[in-house]
Amino acid sequence: MIVIILSLCCNRHPSVQYSHTIGVTYQNLQNEFVINIQDAMRNRAKELNVKLIEVDGQGKAENQISQVENFLALDVDAIILNPFDRYGSAPVVSIAKREGKPIVVVNAVVVNLDKADAYVGSNDQEAGRIAATYISQLLKGKGDLALIRGPNGHSAEIQRTEGILEILKGYPDLKIIFDQSGNWDRTQGLELMENWLSTGKPLQAVIAQNDEMALGAQKAIEAAGKQNDILVIGIDAIPDALRAVKDGKLCATVFQDARGQGILALELAVKLSEGKRVDHTNYIPFQLITKENLNK
């Protein structure tokens, strides 16, 4: 019986010769955006005949550290790190470099990023700047805003907030009157907005640091019949948000190219394991998506 099962298993993968083996540790595979990076990386790996060993850090830096130690034991050709924690995941880079393994950091950053061989990502401050700039244009530099942040201390929350505040500094008549964390969660965005609306303070726009929270806030606004009075903008461009932009429910979202990040990270890792030189910092730009440019 066991022999049959084993032979079945082996037959499913008829001794494929892979060109390279690359270990990837993801920050958290319960996040749709990270799953999109994973999909892109998997597809590109298949095309390049690369074997991927994938593990999920499950939102804990310490998991990523032990996972990369396992990668070294498996003697992979290169490592791709999608760090969860700016500080906590940094030892992953040190461990890999101590053993002389090429390492590519993707999507989020670590403090010792300069020690890694390459970085592929998007600058989250830019996403914040794009969202805040668009809102300030639509409001002609005057109005009261609500800000819904990601989880306190998350690197994207910190950087997106910095970008947003940097732009708003230039518009003294644009004021943030409500400011809370919605933990990337749609229900929390919805409930925050319901509570803010019931204070009766007039609001002109909501900047949410991801689409899930933007969609939650939008639902509360629509339920209160204020969809024509309050603008809502999100970040990420998930499918649900693109539909909402099309229907005019969100005024815009900011597209972060998960696919582009995944593909480039994998290609760089392959090049590095072949001993080729690559650029250290590779930014994939954000894009503002409005009703007008949606179909492109």
């Binding site: 749709e32 809370q180 749609r186 229900t187 803010w196 204070t199 009766g200």
Partner: protein
Amino acid sequence: MKQKQIFQYLSRYGILVAFLILILLLSLLSPAFLKTTNIMNILRQTSVNGIVAVGMTFVIILAGIDLSVGSVIALAAVIAASFAHSGDYPLIVPVFAGLAVGGLCGFLNGFVIAKRKIAPFIMTLAMMTIARGAALVYTNGRPVIELSDSYNKIGGSYFLGIPLPVIIFIIIIFIGWVLLSKTVFGRHVYATGGNTTAAALSGIKTGKITIWVYTLAGILSGLAGIVLSSRVMSGSPATGQGYELDAIAAVVIGGTRLTGGVGTIFGTIVGVLIIGVMNNGLDLLNVSSYWQLVVKGIIILLAVVLEKKNSR
């Protein structure tokens, strides 16, 4: 017996006083607090936690605990949502699927706890992981979107000016209260939770009671998952995290003892409302999210200390 009743009234009184003080404070601090729309907000926002907390009350009176609530909410939400695309099935199908999934998880919890004598903490901890994993496997980690209008109405519509989730919550309160206070089943739950051995000796089928209680809690988690996913118009496998803790907090604030045998649905409702009023009030006052965590913890602690003092 009479003395015990007095104590019980006192403990109810204590928690009510805490609740009224909180309301008084918030209505002084925020003019928006007592407006009808805001009160409807609070009730709607508490309904999901409330539905879960009613089930949790039964479980804790039984001297058990259910840590799987949040994950079962997520599993029921994604499975119900996957049957709720417009034009696929009539509304009854996703609703039934969600309740059935919740009930099945609860039944498994109860069955293993009763028959294999596994500690509820361990069994429901295992279920917490299994159900979360199953929700992720089922959806590939992505939220289920594009749900039908009729499904979205469960969480989004009104009946006689009252949000539908609130009506569902009220119905669940009524059923829970009748089951616990007016039936033989309820008396057996108290007896089993107070002293399992004595209950078994007096002829109560404690195993059966345990299975039923966890199944009930599971069905209510399933219902909560349906309401939640309908409210946000998407079934996310990451939803419901931490809901078990809010439910346990509500039940304990409401005077139900973690050691079993003592507790009321009424107390749980006050506990649920205290948590809901607190979340809402801190948002209205725009208290920073860092401080919100600190304040919430202190209020929960104060409420329980006040309750303890009065029940002595």
